[in-house]
């Protein structure tokens, strides 16, 4: 990455012309900036509608107007994030790609949370009977059974209670990470760190039992 001497802004010569124009207008003032913000919002709304459309099967109870409200809210929040973080754009992608990711994130998180709004999230690892009693299929073998038994034991004995709750909710009960983060008052990043640590412990537990993952 090439940065300007003034700070972390990308050197203008590294930007494509369209990205350079976006930055110039959004960092400007007056009517030209206002017009650029309107165009930015329209760009973000297009991405948010695209994402809500892709995930609409998760929200069969919502009418098209309600889905569009969700996209509008996502675009509004994304616009705030993009404008607040304008100096974080490092010119390593096109500006529009960088901006779109904020809209897609806002829209996908809103869809997941709305889909789970009235659903209970079970945090206790007592709902994993499906995993505890798998039906052997054609690829079943003794090592696979041993791996499963070791994983079950590892979940019970190698993890902290918090790691166990997070792992079971995310990996076994299919709770979306943004939904669990909201219910637990934490962030996606922090929860994924917990999940990562739990997975690492489970792998170590398998290795201690002489088990590979070549099942």
């Amino acid at each position: 990455m090439t940065v300007s001497a003034a700070g972390c802004r990308p050197a203008p010569e590294r930007l494509d012309a369209a990205s350079r124009e976006w930055l110039r207008e959004l960092r400007g003032s007056g009517a030209a900036r206002e017009e650029a913000v309107v165009r930015l919002h329209a760009l973000l709304l297009r991405a948010a509608r695209f994402e809500v459309g892709r995930r609409r099967q998760a929200l069969p109870q919502l009418r098209s107007g309600e889905l569009d409200e969700l996209a509008q809210e996502a675009a509004d929040d994304a616009a705030v994030s993009v404008l607040r973080r304008l100096d974080d754009f490092r010119g390593e992608s096109r500006f529009t790609t960088w901006a779109y990711k904020f809209a897609l994130l806002e829209a996908s998180v809103k869809v997941r949370r709305r889909a789970w709004r009235d659903r209970e999230v079970t945090l206790e690892p007592e709902t994993w009977s499906q995993f505890e009693h798998p039906a052997p299929g054609p690829d079943w073998n003794a090592e696979r059974a041993a791996v499963l038994a070791a994983i079950q034991e590892g979940i019970r004995t190698a993890l902290t209670p918090h790691q166990r709750r997070v792992l079971v909710a995310l990996a076994l009960n299919g709770v979306p990470i943004d939904v669990l983060a909201e219910r637990l008052g934490t962030t996606r990043g922090a929860l994924y760190k917990t999940l990562h640590d739990a997975r690492r412990k489970l792998r170590a537990h398998l290795q201690e039992h002489g088990l590979t993952e070549d099942w």
Partner: protein, 77 residues
């Protein structure tokens, strides 16, 4: 639970085997990764750990797929 279901469950439980980055880093790098992918570059070589993270994090994987799909529609402009 059938074998394919079991394979998926085991992947979700144990995660990717390669070193991976976290969700926040993934978000920071995602635009560069997708632009590189669509340009035909070896995105995973430029940003080691991101591909592994996408294999381990369904939420980030969905957002990666969406960004890629949106850009493939020719959404720049």
């Amino acid at each position: 639970m059938s074998d394919p279901d079991l394979d998926l469950t085991l992947l979700r439980l144990l995660g990717p085997t390669e070193p991976e980055i976290g969700c926040d880093e993934c978000f920071e790098q995602l635009d560069r990764y997708v632009d590189a992918e669509l340009a035909g570059a070896a995105a995973h070589a430029l940003m080691p750990g991101l591909r592994a993270h996408l294999a381990g994090c369904p939420a980030c994987a969905e957002e990666h797929e969406s960004l890629r799909a949106l850009l493939e529609l020719g959404a720049h402009g």
